[in-house]
């Protein structure tokens, strides 16, 4: 009732002041690869975003205005990303942009938003430097935010899992030749060095490679007991298939891309048992998650009731709510004001990944800390909790650890 009064007052105010633009929708750019090898992440992210926008619009929008997604396919290509950034900023005049799946595209495109003072929400791209591109003191304000588990969280988690939890001595690293793979490989090597371990083999492959014999034989000859991966779905599947062919089966532990549908489907039985850090697992263990999963399945009807990339969908969904909360708090759609609101969010935002309580500060633009992701495992063509204890505690929301607590650098330990 109160709400309705509120809206009526708002509406009459608008009428009285004759603001015709008040009804204009708030344009939000949504960009990611909706085609090609990383499309399962891009499409899931976009669908998560669309779901959240629909919900918000049904509830009356933000500042009395509807949200409007302006979707653009960057095809995972840096140059497309740059074109789209310019189009969204200059032609569409978006208030903010959500998206970026590929670290390389994010790095190439973000400077335009930074210059135009328009906030960017990386809801999937994980390269460690994505949010560090425009750091103080060189840049007084940083317009790049993220609510995904960045690589400097994931790499130590992967190493912790391989070396400490499962006690493997000899590890091999297989990474693709893109920015994503190579930056991830660096992070993995750093994390291994912190445990005084040196990888016995570090191998590389290209996107669309169909034969992994040489890489796998090198790892096998070096006596690797586990393969750590940094790549995307199709090539990861070729690694798993290559192992089957060579009759050499060691566990695969890698970045969160091992949860991509095109890895799971193309690797088949060879992909079972692969483990990766996940911020979200498709399991309705809280009310919020249950409604999210049900709404997603009902609206987009993915095959076998499995979200292609649950993590991307969840993070995409959450990014909209974070942005909406900031616009509401700022009472404006101007970039600098939205940024300030994001850096000092007064309301708690309940998302599906976690509950965001002051997720950002002026110098910290990462919403996800090392305590939030858990390990997922491919089992029966689905990603499930790798550890029973995580599953049992799945409903407990793990919230961001504030600066003071993260200072002791405890990766992945709960």
């Amino acid at each position: 009732m109160k709400r309705r009064v509120h809206l009526t007052v708002l509406a009459s105010l608008m009428l009285a002041t004759g603001f015709s633009f008040a009804a204009d929708p708030i344009k939000v750019g949504v960009t990611g690869p909706y085609t090609g090898g990383s499309s399962s992440m891009g499409v899931s992210m976009r669908d998560g975003v669309k779901l959240a926008i629909n919900e918000i619009n049904k509830a009356g929008g933000v500042l009395g205005r509807q949200l409007l997604a302006v979707e653009r396919d960057d095809e995972a290509k840096n140059e497309r990303g740059v074109q789209i950034a310019q189009e969204l900023i200059n032609k569409e005049q978006v208030v903010a942009t959500l998206g970026f799946i590929n670290t390389g595209v994010a790095l190439a495109s973000q400077r335009f938003y930074q210059e135009a003072k328009i906030p960017v929400f990386n809801n999937v791209a994980t390269g460690s430097i994505v949010t560090q591109q425009f750091k103080a003191p060189e840049f007084p304000d940083n317009y790049i935010f993220r609510n995904a588990a960045h690589d400097s969280i994931q790499a130590p988690m992967i190493v912790e899992e391989a070396i400490v939890r499962r006690n493997f001595k000899k590890v091999a690293i297989l990474a693709d030749s893109t920015n994503y793979g190579q930056l991830g490989r660096e992070d993995l090597e750093k994390a291994l060095a912190a445990k005084n371990v040196k990888a016995v083999a570090v191998e590389k492959f290209n996107i669309k490679d169909v034969d992994m014999t040489a890489q796998l034989l090198k790892a096998k000859e070096a006596g690797a007991e586990v393969v750590l991966t940094y790549a995307i779905g199709p090539e990861l599947a070729q690694i798993a298939n290559g192992m089957t062919k060579l009759g050499w089966k060691v566990p695969m532990i890698g970045s969160w891309t091992l949860s991509m549908a095109n890895f799971i489907d193309n690797a088949g039985p060879g992909g079972e048992g692969a483990r990766m850090p996940q911020t979200f697992i498709q399991e309705p263990n809280t009310v919020k998650r249950k409604t999210f999963i049900e709404a997603y399945l009902k609206t987009f009807k993915p095959k076998n009731n499995r979200i292609d990339s649950p993590v991307s969908a969840a993070q995409g969904y959450d990014s909209v709510y974070l942005l909406a909360a900031a616009i509401k708090q700022a009472g404006s759609t101007e970039g600098p004001k939205v940024r300030e609101a994001l850096e000092n969010l007064q309301t708690k935002v309940e998302g599906v990944v976690t509950t965001y309580d002051k997720p950002f500060t002026h110098d910290d633009h990462e919403a996800i800390t090392a305590n939030i992701p858990i390990f997922g495992e491919v089992k029966g063509s689905k990603v499930v909790y790798a550890y029973e204890e995580d599953r049992v505690k799945g409903a407990d929301i793990r919230t961001k650890v504030k600066k003071a607590a993260t200072a002791d650098k405890q990766p992945a330990k709960k």
Partner: protein
Amino acid sequence: MEIFLQLVYSGIALGMIYAVIAFGYQLTFATSDTLNFGQGDALMLGALVGLTLVDRMGLNYWLALPVVGLFGMVQGAFVERIGVRPAIKIKSEFGWIMSTIALGIIFKNVAENIWGRDDLKFPSPLPESPLKVFGANVLPMELLVIGGALLMMLAVEFFNRKTIYGKAVVATFNDRDAAKLMGINTGLVITFSYALSSMSASFAGVLIAPLTLTGATMGSVLGLKAFAVAIIGGLTSGMGIIVGGIILGIAETTTGFYISTGYKDVPGLVLLLFVLAVKPAGLFGKSAIKKV
């Protein structure tokens, strides 16, 4: 030794994947001096049509093969009529390059809209567990690809040398105008060669799809590698394609293992440059003397 053997096996299997695609380039070059740069996309279409037949309609893999071949023929004839014939008619040297590339892109976009943008799994018609041959592993599917490549080579050589239609093809290649005067319908021969070329590409697609992955973008890199194979082996020799494929495949796997996986594509491409410099017609190609 066992490792080397494994590398050679995988190299041969990889090379044969390239070779089956490369046949398509040869077939059109043999009649009209033109190449279908959309070969990779013809391959992709074949694989995706095959996948639809096998996966959605539940057709047996072997029964799907002729249907896919027929589809390939239609697709190839379409490419020739739309893209190549106008260029040949005005004796344009380069028009067909752009038009076949353009058609390839169009096919890719169409495929993305019909089959989606993701890489899909092609169910393997043969068991997926590896066989041990002299201490190294081979997949049954790889043996099928090798068999398929050899069969295609034999078919092409037999067709060109022994049949009257093949002679018409050779005649058309040697001198289009003279062939026309001798009563050969050169236009039809060229259309036919394009149909045959796309048919072989479609076959190749269904053949290799269980090994690679199936999707709208599968043809791009493979089509390019196959082109390198066709150049190395020679655009006029069936034997050359097989040997070229094996050379490129083994060069990739051995370089990957013994030198660095980061440089595995380099030796093959260096060889390509070397062949172009020393024997431009390819290792097995007959250098054509063009009288102007």
